[in-house]
Point group: C2
Chain length 120, copies 2
């Protein structure tokens, strides 16, 4: 019998957390977004992102090893593309939630100016 009643073991939590951490970098999100329109070469991603070649390449490896990207070599060029576009659902969920929070925060700030009978 398990010592506690958690329905997830530590290992699963680590895996999910690691996946979230892969998405937790602005440059990686930008690369994913750029690849949303289709396959691109490293050079094209470097130019479009404005980041250094070494840095772009390194982040592409991280996304590749995470199983989010696919790599195809053609002559000198390496083309990357998104394997499963469902990641964008993740980003959309986060974006939607963030903008909701912003709206709520703005509303809260508004209320601060009318501290009337705030029944909180």
């Amino acid at each position: 019998m398990a010592k506690n009643s958690k329905s997830f073991d530590t290992n699963s939590l680590d895996l999910v957390a690691a996946r979230f951490r892969v998405l937790g970098d602005p440059l990686r999100l930008q690369l994913l977004h750029l690849l949303g329109d289709g396959e691109m070469s490293v050079g094209a991603l470097v130019e479009a992102s404005g980041a250094s070649q070494a840095n772009v390449s390194k982040h592409l490896q991280i996304l590749l090893r995470a199983g989010l990207l696919q790599r195809r070599k053609e002559g000198l060029l390496a083309f990357y593309k998104i394997i499963d576009p469902s990641i964008f659902q993740l980003c959309d969920l986060v974006c939607g939630r963030l903008s909701e929070q912003f709206k709520a925060d703005l509303s809260a700030i508004g209320k601060l100016r009318h501290p009337g009978q705030a029944a909180e």
Copy 2:
């Protein structure tokens, strides 16, 4: 006119990445999962998670400041609860994707043992 054609400015990417990073820690995911069944006190979370009181409290502050949790004080106790259960959709998406990848990896390993004309 924007200098480039990216549809996201750097700031939005930072915000989304920061939100993903909040979810990128196993203990925070565990706390969120525990809170999935409803409001809990810090002490209860400490016991259920097995982590130290200081650590649990710190991670709760992170989730609180991120706008994922709500806090209610009752006497000595502090109760936390999830504001928007839609975060679990995020976790579900990630879990689903991860298990798909595992299945694919297993299948790939299987193919290694029959390098012949493996027709999947």
